[in-house]
């Protein structure tokens, strides 16, 4: 079973988690000033990288907290997990950073 490290609870089985989509996407402060294209970009367009991807996870059957992870979408390897609100960590070879 895939093991995911919750920043609060430590290493836990994948079963206890839910995926939450790409991380670090800030909701526009004033949506009414955006063009339709800008709003659609916020709602729908994601980076979808082949490689390192920062994404949200929730330890739903554990502490219940959302946190962020950098996962390699090719190997499914979790490079690092970190608490919500923290910036994406520096990782060697991370081209999105």
């Amino acid at each position: 079973m895939l093991i995911i490290t919750c920043p609060w609870c430590g290493a836990r089985p994948e079963l206890e988690f839910r995926y939450g989509g790409e991380a670090h996407i800030a909701r526009p402060a004033d949506p009414s000033t955006l063009t339709d294209e800008e709003w659609a970009d916020f709602l729908y367009n994601r980076t979808n990288p082949k490689g390192l991807h920062a994404e949200r996870w929730r330890h739903v059957h554990g502490c219940g907290r959302f946190f962020n992870a950098v996962r390699d979408t090719v190997s499914d390897f979790f490079v690092v997990t970190y608490k919500a609100g923290e910036t994406r960590p520096d990782i060697a070879g991370d081209q999105a950073k």
Binding site: W8, G10, E16, H61, C63, R65
Partner: protein
């Protein structure tokens, strides 16, 4: 066992009846993994900001543990860490009302929430040298004493049901499960115990 006779017909049982009464009364004895229902317990979920955490624990009589996945006990009452701002408070045999009133008085004006969830779940105890083995039939955690020591608690899964699992002694686990899932969890624990014959 609770006060509802297991011989009562299902339709005549009160809504608050023990959902495990009939299953528990027919449960075979197995000393290597004893399975029992726990007495009625007052349960309160407390969530709060930093300023409210200390006073809440003081009013409850158990300091709320700040270490992840740990519980603290004092005079029969326990406070279980469920998340960094979330605890479940257990007071076996007590009424939730006066406890809630005491905590509300101590945390007045401080940002928090306190919810009485006494009837939401039921308690099951599993104990004996094979208790961890039986739990691991449906729980994916490492239940070795080094990784899941006495005093540890956590939400996790038992098969497809969410449970709150705590280790109260070396060979004793307490399971708290939402009452509608309780027969499912109990029956699968029984299935695990059949391995021991």
């Amino acid at each position: 066992m609770l006060d509802t006779p297991s011989s009562a017909g299902h339709s005549t049982m009160p809504v608050s009846a023990d959902p495990l009464a009939s299953l528990a009364s027919g449960s075979p004895r197995r000393a290597t993994a004893r399975l029992t229902t726990l007495d009625r317990t007052a349960r309160l979920v407390f969530r709060g900001r930093e300023s409210a955490i200390g006073p809440a624990g003081e009013a409850f009589g158990v300091a709320l543990p700040r270490e992840a996945c740990r519980f603290a006990s004092n005079e029969g009452r326990s406070a279980l860490w469920l998340g960094p701002d979330e605890w479940i408070l257990l007071a076996p045999g007590a009424q939730a009302g006066p406890i809630a009133a005491a905590i509300e008085a101590a945390t007045a004006g401080l940002p928090h929430s306190l919810v009485d969830v006494s009837s939401r779940s039921v308690g099951i105890e599993l104990s004996g040298p094979k208790a961890a083995f039986v739990l691991n039939q449906g729980c994916p955690l490492d239940l070795g004493l080094g990784r899941f020591p006495v005093g540890m608690c956590t939400r996790t899964l038992f098969h497809k049901a969410e449970i709150v699992l705590s280790r109260t002694a070396g060979e004793t686990f307490r399971i708290d499960v939402w009452r509608s899932f309780a027969p499912y969890v109990w029956s699968l624990l029984e299935e695990g115990r059949r391995e021991l014959d």
